[in-house]
Structures are given as structure tokens and as C-alpha cells.
């Protein structure tokens, strides 16, 4: 057990715990913030695995951008808070399936890689230059494809999220398909009007 192992275990515990909090938190904003902690932990894991550039990208993209994006998403949709509304009735099934899968995965991982050690020496930090060379030589075509995909996703997201033309600035009043959610019906009915008046226009 090297010092590296100890550090890793600490990081792993924090990461795992934050992940669990992410999926169980009753507060949406807390969930998003715990996601941030989880992502930071994963970034630390990357550092421990000597992937410093990936770690940096992880921090910049995930922590810096995606977490904020989620927070905005949560705020804009103003979802209600509470276990009943946040968790579906599939929760028991999800628990069983996930636990079973985790158990099986752990068994398989230990059986398959239990004896593997990383190279005895300290992990060599792969330089950014190597990464760049790999991306722009071997993987240049996938790289271009990915960039095209990113562009397409950008356009698609804009197209999907923009307000439909022809509205007079307020949200069209819509009714949920299923009115049967009695406890939240009132709230749902009020929502469009609030949004219309509370909007920037």
C-alpha cells in the first residue's frame, strides 16, 4: 500500500459518496452541486492516473460548463423538491438492478484484473504534446467527425430550445397530458402564467 493508494482511496471515497448524494438528494440544486463534487473527484482520479491534461479538461468542461448548465436547467424548469416528486416508483427496482450489476462487476473485475498492478515506477505523465500528436495524426479523422457532431448538436440544441415563432412573447398555455397528478395539478396549471409574467419580456 503506497501513499498513492491511500490518496486514491480517500479520493474514491469522497467521489463515491458525492455520487450517491447526487442521485439521492432531495434538493435539486444540492444534487447538481454534489455532481460537481463527484466530477472534481473524478478529475483528481485522472491526476492520480497521470492524465493531467484529461484532468484539466474534466475540470474546465465538466465543472466549469456542464455543472453550470445543469444548474441553469434546473432553475429554468423550476422542478419541485422532495423525494416523492424527485424519485419515481421504479426506485426499488432500480436499487436492486444497480446493486446486482455492481456486485457482478466487482466480482468480474477482481477475477479478471485482481493481479494487475500499474507499472512499478511512478506513472509517467504523458505530455500534452503526445496527446496532441495522437489526436492530430492517428485520430484526426475521428476528431473532425467529433467536431462536426458538436456543431450539429449545437445547432440542434438551439433549434430545439428556441421559442416557437408566432408567439406573442408569452408561453403558450399548455395542459399536461395527464392531469391525474392531483397533488401538483394546481402548481402545474399556474406555471405557464408565472413564467409568462416572470419572463424577461
Amino acid at each position: 500500500m503506497t501513499s498513492l493508494d491511500i490518496v486514491f482511496i480517500l479520493v474514491a471515497v469522497v467521489t463515491g459518496g458525492a455520487a450517491v448524494m447526487t442521485v439521492t438528494s432531495r434538493n435539486l440544486v444540492h444534487a447538481a452541486l454534489f455532481l460537481g463534487v463527484t466530477l472534481a473527484g473524478i478529475g483528481a482520479t485522472f491526476l492520480l492516473l497521470a492524465a493531467d491534461f484529461v484532468a484539466m479538461v474534466q475540470v474546465v468542461v465538466y465543472l466549469g460548463a456542464i455543472t453550470v448548465l445543469f444548474l441553469f436547467g434546473l432553475m429554468l424548469t423550476r422542478a419541485p423538491i422532495g423525494r416523492e416528486t424527485l424519485d419515481s416508483r421504479n426506485r426499488p427496482m432500480a436499487m436492486v438492478v444497480s446493486a446486482a450489476l455492481f456486485g457482478i462487476l466487482v466480482v468480474l473485475i477482481v477475477r479478471a484484473f485482481g493481479s494487475n498492478q500499474f507499472p512499478a515506477t511512478e506513472p509517467i505523465s504523458s505530455s500534452v504534446a503526445d496527446l496532441g500528436m495522437a489526436i492530430f495524426s492517428t485520430w484526426v479523422f475521428p476528431f473532425e467527425v467529433v467536431s462536426m457532431m458538436l456543431l450539429a448538436a449545437l445547432v440542434g440544441a438551439v433549434l430545439l430550445a428556441r421559442r416557437q415563432s408566432g408567439d406573442s412573447g408569452t408561453e403558450t398555455r399548455v395542459t399536461p397530458i395527464r392531469e391525474a397528478l392531483d397533488d401538483s395539478t394546481e402548481e402545474l396549471d399556474r406555471a405557464p402564467a408565472e413564467l409568462g409574467s416572470g419572463g424577461e419580456r
Partner: protein, 785 residues
């Protein structure tokens, strides 16, 4: 690649450009300042220059080895369809002819079609039409040739029916399409027969060059060659307007005049002659094939000429003239005159285009197709007169014009054929001579009727359309697509011409504009040198006997081809072209046969000309090689042709030269006129022989047999089956089968009602179920290891 032949690599460009032009015009033509015509003309000009370079290079180096290239192969089942180019002298000649005529026709159409509704469409179609013909011309295999051949048919259909508002034009287009289509079946069958024959020896079954090689090597069976060639010839008969399938050609005059010029000079009717020439080494393998070609050709050239005499419509005169000239070409090919036939094709292309465009110029000015409405035009339209006169002289074979050389060459070829003891040569010679006389007569008649005498304006004959008729038609909104209507429609668009509408003779007709005249003058000027290129005066005007039309268009295959049915063929093939003994035998026989009815020295004079390899073989021998050499000057033929020419002109002058006559003698020859006016009743025979029997006899008979015999059987069987079915229905079907089916349906409904709840619409449950399945699978596989 031989030195000096680099341009051949770019023959595909000549083909591609018109296609690109057609697409561009169709797509963007309406947006362009000149409505797309500039694109067509520019593309055609580039193609024309390219063709000229190709033409000159092949001319300077001829005979050249064919350049065969494949650009694209499409495997279809076991076959491979190839598209490529096959460029030799013959191809180069056709490229020059087609692009030249097409370029001038397009320039001409700029003025002629000015103001038409579908001006842009018209130019797109012209380019497409040219493209189609060029695809055929450079085809390296018969399949590509068929593609081009059919495209030509479709384009001609679209252009003949250009004035589609008038039903008669649509009928004409349909007729042209159906008649040529009928003949195309022959082409298809012929190509298949040949390819099956070839397939025994090579995989490339459609290759023209391989077919020719195998045929020359005698590898193809006699039956294959006869059947294949005769069926292909049927296709050529239809496309090239040979009797009796020429009936579509005069009706095709319904199209605009530039289209007529294009069809008759370059892009359509020449296809049949060209294709026969392309496969010529195959055709010459069998005497019966040659004889059929010669017979059809000679019948066509002789009888079609008479039809032209009685026509009043100038375009119909020219149409029958074309049929007749095509007969000359076919007859020449049928008597071994390869060079003569395609030389006539070449020269005819120029002067027939000239004549059609000239007639278009007249129609443009007069607004009538009828010669009886013209008269005295030489005063109003001097340029048109001079050029039309030149074209007519060339067609009639006046000395030093293009037609003179080519027609004399055909006659000389026929003479040589006769010298070789083949009777068909005699027939072609004398009937060809008579046909030349007829040709001269009807052209002289046309010239006198159109350009001399007084301008007649609208004729008094009740059969003719009066101004009132036409105006009434115009008022009723019916656009008459015949030339009169076409010009009225145009006059309506064109303020320049409408006041001078020549109907009624109130206004003097005026000369056409520069675009029309340019085309006319260029073609008129060309009518001389194109003849010299192959004529026997070539060396006397400073050319070289080493380089003439013969060396231009002859391929090596043609040079080496021999007639198996001529004496000496066996020895020849054994000794690889050195069978001198056999050639001497042939010479003896040829001299012994002489020219029936002709002077004795004709045969002797014909001697040297008959052999292609004149330089290599001894003087005075007749080989069994293909007669593709440029014949030398034959005084007797020249004199006979000139006498025929002068006699015909004199006759025409005697009848028409002294002003207009109320009674046109050719229309008052009793039964003969009746026969001619009714076009030998060929259309009627077609109608009564094919349409009526099918409609009135075959169809009712079929109907009766269907109603009585077949229905009886059917009803009897039906009744019995019905009774059996009743029994089956009530017992087997209702009780057993229906019970089973209903039971199955009910059980399916019950189960699906239960199972539908699995489809909850809850994606998370789906995900969970999927994951559970994955877990099970992982466990199973892990346990299995």
C-alpha cells in the same frame, strides 16, 4: 498513342459538352440573358473546335488505329456494360459532321425560334439531341450504341412534337417514335444475336472491335452473321428512313425547321447508315446481307425520289429527297462502297442542312410551306436564293459540288461491284443514275417554283389555307404547329415581322437576319470543299492522293476486310492477303463480266480503283478487298451523270421555267400521280394492313373466341366448382376452418390484452428490464466459463 493523334483522347469532351449544356440550359436557361441559347452555342462551338482538331489529326494520319477507351464499367449480373469511346476516322468524320451542323442549326434557331414560348426548352433539347447522337457515334460497344440510338429516338420524338398543341404534330411524333421503335426491336435482336455469337469466343460480348475481328476471322457462324446483320439492318431501315419504314420521315416535318435540318442532316437518319458502316466488316461476310441492303437501298433511292416530285410542301420535297439520298447511301454500302456510302453521308449532311435551313428562311419570310405560295423569291431573298441554289446543285450532283463527287463515287462503286460479277451492282448503277435524274428534276422544279416567276402570295386553290382560315385559327387560340402557324405565332411575338406577313401578298417578303444567313452561307461555302476532300480531283487542286476521305475514314479493319463470297477468298485468307493468284482470277472474272450495257473500257478503267492496296498489288487486278478506295475519275460515269443532270434541268425548265402554270403537269399524270400523291399507298397499307385488320378482324375474332369458346369453358368449369365450393363452404369452411381461425384470433386478443401492460411507456422500467437482461446474460456467460 500515335504521334499527332493526342486530340483523340478528348473525343469524350465533344460528347459531354452538349450534355452539360442541355442540363445547364434546362436548369438555368430561363434566367440567362439569351434564354439559354448562348450556353448551347458556346458548348457546341467548343465541341466543334475539338472535333475539327480530331478530324484534322485523323485526316492527316489516316487511316488511324482506333482509340478504344473505357471510362466506366457497370457489372450487371454476368455481363459487364462498358461506357467509353471508340475513336477512329469514321468517328472523327461523324463528330465533325454532327457538331458542324448542330452548331449552325443552333445559331440559326436563335433567329428562327425567336419569341417562341419554349425557346429555352428547344435549345436544351437540341443539345440533348446532339449529345445522344454523339453517344452513338463514339460507342465502343453495341450496348452504348443502343443507348445513344434510343436517346436519339426520344429526343426526336420530343422535338417533332415541339408544337404539341396541334394534334397532328403529336400524331407525327408518335408515328415517328412507333415506327422507329418497331425497327429498334430489330436492332436489339440483332445485337443480341451477334453478342451470343461472340460470347463463344470472348467475354466482352458487346465490343464492336471484337465482333468485327471475330467476323473477319470467320469465327462467327454464317447464320449468326446473317440473322444478326439483317436484324440490325432492320433497325437501320427504321432509323434511316428506308422503304418501307420511311413513312415517319415526311411526317416528322411537323417539327420546327431547324429540327428537320438536324434530323435529316446529322443527328438521326444518319444513325442507321453510320451503324451499318460501323459494323461493315461484319456485314460483308455474307452476300445475302449485302444484297438485302442493296435492294432496300436502291428501291428507296428510286421510288422516294418520285414522291418528291409531286409534293407542294417544300419541306416534304426535301424530306423525300432525304429518304432518296439515304437510299443512295445504303445502296452504296450494299454494293461494297464503304467509302462512297459514308462520303455521301458526309456531303449530304452539309447540303441537306443547307437546303432545310434555306427552306426555313423562306418559310420564315412567307409564312407558308407551300411552293405554290412562293414564286419570284430570288428578288426578295437573294442570299437565300443563292445558297439554296448551291445546295440544290450539290444535291443534284452538279460538277464540282459536294454531291457530285459523292454520288459519282457511289455509281463507280456500283460499277466495280458489277465488274466483280455481282448483278446487284448493275441495278444500283442504272437505278442510281435514274434516281439522280429524278433528284435533279424535283430540285429544279422546286427552284423554278420558288424563286422564279411572279410572287403568288396566297394561292387561289381552295385547298390552300386562306388568311381568314389562319386568322380564325389564331383568334380561336389554336396554335397551328405547322410552319404557317408557327410563323404566325412568331409574328405575333415579333413586331418586326408581323406587319410584313406575306399572306395575301400585301407585303413583300424580306430577307432573313444575319444569324440565319450566316448559317446558310457557311453551309453553302462548305458544300464545295467537303466534296473535294474525297473527290478524285483532290490531287488536282493541290491536295494529296495520300490523304483523302478514303484514308480518313478507313479503319485498319476495313482495309483488311475481305469479301468471303468473292472468288479467291479462301486462298486469300490462307495466305494472309497475299493471294495474288486469286486476285488475278477475280480480275479475269471481273473483266469478263464487264459492265452490262456499258462500254467495255469501263471495266478496265474500274480495275485499278477497285483495290485498296493499289500501291502494293499489281495494276489492273481486282482484289476481293473491300472497295473503300477513292475511285479515280471515270469519264463515262461523269458523262452519264452530267447528261442526266442536264436532261432533268432541261425538262424542269421546259415545264416550269416559263412562269407559273395553272396546271402543274406532275399533278396531272393520271394514275401515276394518284399513286405518288398517295405515297404508294404505304401509309394506307400500313393502316389497312396492320391497324385495320387488328382492329376490325383480329380483335373481333379474339373477342368472339374469348366470349364463346373460352367463356363456355370457363363458365362450365366455374359452375361445377361453384357447386363444390358451396358444399365445402358450409361444412369445411364454416365449421372447421372458421372455428380454428376464430379461436386463434380470440386467444391472440386475450393474450395481447394481458401482455399489453408490459408496454407501460415508462422508459425507466424499460431500462431496468434491459439491464436485468444484461445481468442475466453476464451471469450465464460468466458461469459458462
Amino acid at each position: 498513342m500515335e504521334a499527332g493523334l493526342q486530340a483523340l483522347d478528348y473525343a469524350w469532351l465533344v460528347v459531354l459538352l452538349p450534355f452539360v449544356a442541355a442540363v445547364v440550359i434546362a436548369a438555368f436557361g430561363r434566367l440567362m440573358p439569351l434564354k439559354g441559347s448562348e450556353v448551347g452555342i458556346a458548348a457546341m462551338a467548343i465541341a466543334w473546335v475539338t472535333s475539327l482538331v480530331i478530324g484534322f489529326q485523323t485526316f492527316a494520319n489516316g487511316p488511324v488505329d482506333a482509340l478504344e477507351q473505357t471510362f466506366w464499367t457497370a457489372p450487371v449480373g454476368g455481363l459487364t456494360i462498358e461506357f467509353g469511346q471508340y475513336v477512329d476516322g469514321l468517328t472523327a468524320m461523324m463528330l465533325v459532321l454532327v457538331t458542324t451542323v448542330s452548331l449552325l442549326v443552333q445559331l440559326y434557331s436563335r433567329e428562327y425560334m425567336h419569341g417562341e414560348d419554349r425557346f429555352t426548352y428547344f435549345f436544351a433539347m437540341l443539345s440533348l439531341f446532339t449529345f445522344s447522337m454523339l453517344v452513338l457515334v463514339i460507342a465502343p460497344n453495341t450496348l452504348q450504341a443502343i443507348v445513344g440510338w434510343e436517346l436519339v429516338g426520344v429526343c426526336s420524338y420530343l422535338l417533332i412534337g415541339y408544337y404539341w398543341r396541334e394534334k397532328s404534330n403529336v400524331d407525327a411524333a408518335n408515328k415517328a417514335f412507333l415506327v422507329t421503335k418497331f425497327a429498334d426491336i430489330g436492332l436489339l435482336v440483332g445485337v443480341i444475336v451477334l453478342s451470343v455469337g461472340v460470347s463463344a469466343h470472348t467475354d466482352n460480348v458487346f465490343s464492336i472491335s471484337e465482333t468485327i475481328e471475330l467476323a473477319m476471322a470467320g469465327e462467327l457462324s454464317s447464320l449468326t452473321v446473317i440473322m444478326g446483320c439483317l436484324f440490325i439492318f432492320l433497325g437501320a431501315v427504321g432509323k434511316s428512313g428506308q422503304m418501307p419504314l420511311h413513312v415517319w420521315l415526311p411526317d416528322a416535318m411537323a417539327g420546327p425547321t431547324p429540327v428537320s435540318a438536324l434530323i435529316h442532316a446529322a443527328t438521326m437518319v444518319t444513325a442507321g447508315v453510320f451503324f451499318v458502316a460501323r459494323l461493315y466488316p461484319v456485314f460483308i461476310q455474307e452476300l445475302v446481307v449485302m444484297n438485302v441492303i442493296a435492294i432496300v437501298g436502291v428501291i428507296t433511292l428510286f421510288f422516294a425520289g418520285f414522291l418528291a416530285i409531286v409534293q407542294d410542301d417544300i419541306k416534304k420535297v426535301l424530306a423525300y429527297s432525304t429518304v432518296s439520298q439515304l437510299g443512295y447511301m445504303m445502296a452504296a454500302l450494299g454494293v461494297g462502297g464503304y467509302t462512297a456510302g459514308i462520303f455521301h453521308l458526309f456531303t449530304h449532311g452539309f447540303f441537306k442542312a443547307l437546303l432545310f435551313l434555306g427552306s426555313g428562311s423562306l418559310i420564315h419570310a412567307i409564312h407558308s410551306n407551300n411552293m405554290s405560295d412562293m414564286g419570284g423569291m430570288r428578288r426578295y431573298m437573294p442570299w437565300t436564293f443563292v445558297t439554296f441554289l448551291i445546295g440544290s446543285l450539290a444535291l443534284a450532283g452538279f460538277p464540282l459540288t459536294a454531291g457530285f463527287f459523292s454520288k459519282d463515287e457511289i455509281l463507280v462503286s456500283a460499277q466495280i461491284w458489277a465488274d466483280n460479277g455481282l448483278a446487284m451492282g448493275t441495278w444500283v448503277f442504272w437505278l442510281g443514275l435514274a434516281g439522280a435524274l429524278v433528284t435533279t428534276f424535283y430540285m429544279a422544279r422546286s427552284i423554278f417554283l420558288i424563286f422564279f416567276g411572279e410572287h403568288r402570295g396566297v394561292p387561289a386553290r381552295p385547298s390552300a389555307r386562306t388568311v381568314a382560315d389562319i386568322e380564325a385559327e389564331e383568334a380561336s387560340g389554336v396554335l397551328d404547329p405547322q410552319a404557317e402557324g408557327e410563323d404566325l405565332a412568331q409574328a405575333a411575338h415579333d413586331p418586326d415581322t408581323s406587319p410584313t406577313t406575306g399572306l395575301g401578298g400585301h407585303h413583300a417578303p424580306h430577307e432573313s437576319g444575319w444569324q440565319i444567313l450566316t448559317a446558310l452561307v457557311v453551309l453553302a461555302v462548305l458544300s464545295f470543299p467537303v466534296g473535294l476532300a474525297g473527290g478524285f480531283l483532290w490531287d488536282e487542286v493541290g491536295g494529296s492522293t495520300e490523304r483523302n476521305f478514303e484514308t480518313w475514314t478507313a479503319t485498319h479493319a476495313i482495309e483488311e476486310a475481305t469479301y468471303p463470297f468473292l472468288p479467291g477468298a479462301d486462298e486469300h485468307s490462307e495466305e494472309g492477303g497475299e493471294g495474288e493468284h486469286a486476285e488475278e482470277e477475280g480480275a479475269d472474272e471481273g473483266e469478263a463480266a464487264g459492265l452490262p450495257g456499258g462500254p467495255d473500257d469501263v471495266a478496265l478503267a474500274a480495275g485499278p480503283a477497285t483495290t485498296v492496296l493499289a500501291a502494293e498489288s499489281a495494276e489492273g487486278e481486282i482484289s476481293n478487298h473491300v472497295l473503300h478506295g477513292a475511285p479515280e475519275f471515270h469519264l463515262d460515269v461523269f458523262v452519264l451523270a452530267l447528261i442526266a443532270f442536264l436532261a432533268a434541268v432541261a425538262g424542269a425548265w421546259a415545264i416550269y421555267g416559263r412562269g407559273h402554270r395553272e396546271r402543274d403537269p406532275v399533278l396531272h399524270m393520271g394514275g401515276l400521280t394518284t399513286v405518288l400523291v398517295n405515297k404508294y399507298y404505304l401509309d394506307d397499307i400500313g393502316y389497312r394492313g396492320v391497324v385495320v385488320p387488328i382492329r376490325d378482324h383480329l380483335a373481333p375474332a379474339t373477342s368472339w373466341s374469348s366470349n364463346v369458346v373460352l367463356d363456355g369453358i370457363v363458365k362450365g368449369v366455374g359452375g361445377g366448382v361453384k357447386r363444390l365450393a358451396n358444399v365445402t363452404y358450409h361444412t369445411v369452411d364454416q365449421k372447421i376452418i372458421d372455428g380454428g381461425v376464430n379461436g386463434a384470433a380470440f386467444s391472440a386478443a386475450w393474450w395481447s390484452n394481458k401482455l399489453k401492460h408490459l408496454q407501460s411507456g415508462d422508459v425507466q422500467r424499460y431500462a431496468g428490464a434491459m439491464l436485468a437482461g444484461v445481468i442475466v446474460l453476464v451471469v450465464v456467460f460468466a458461469a459458462a466459463r
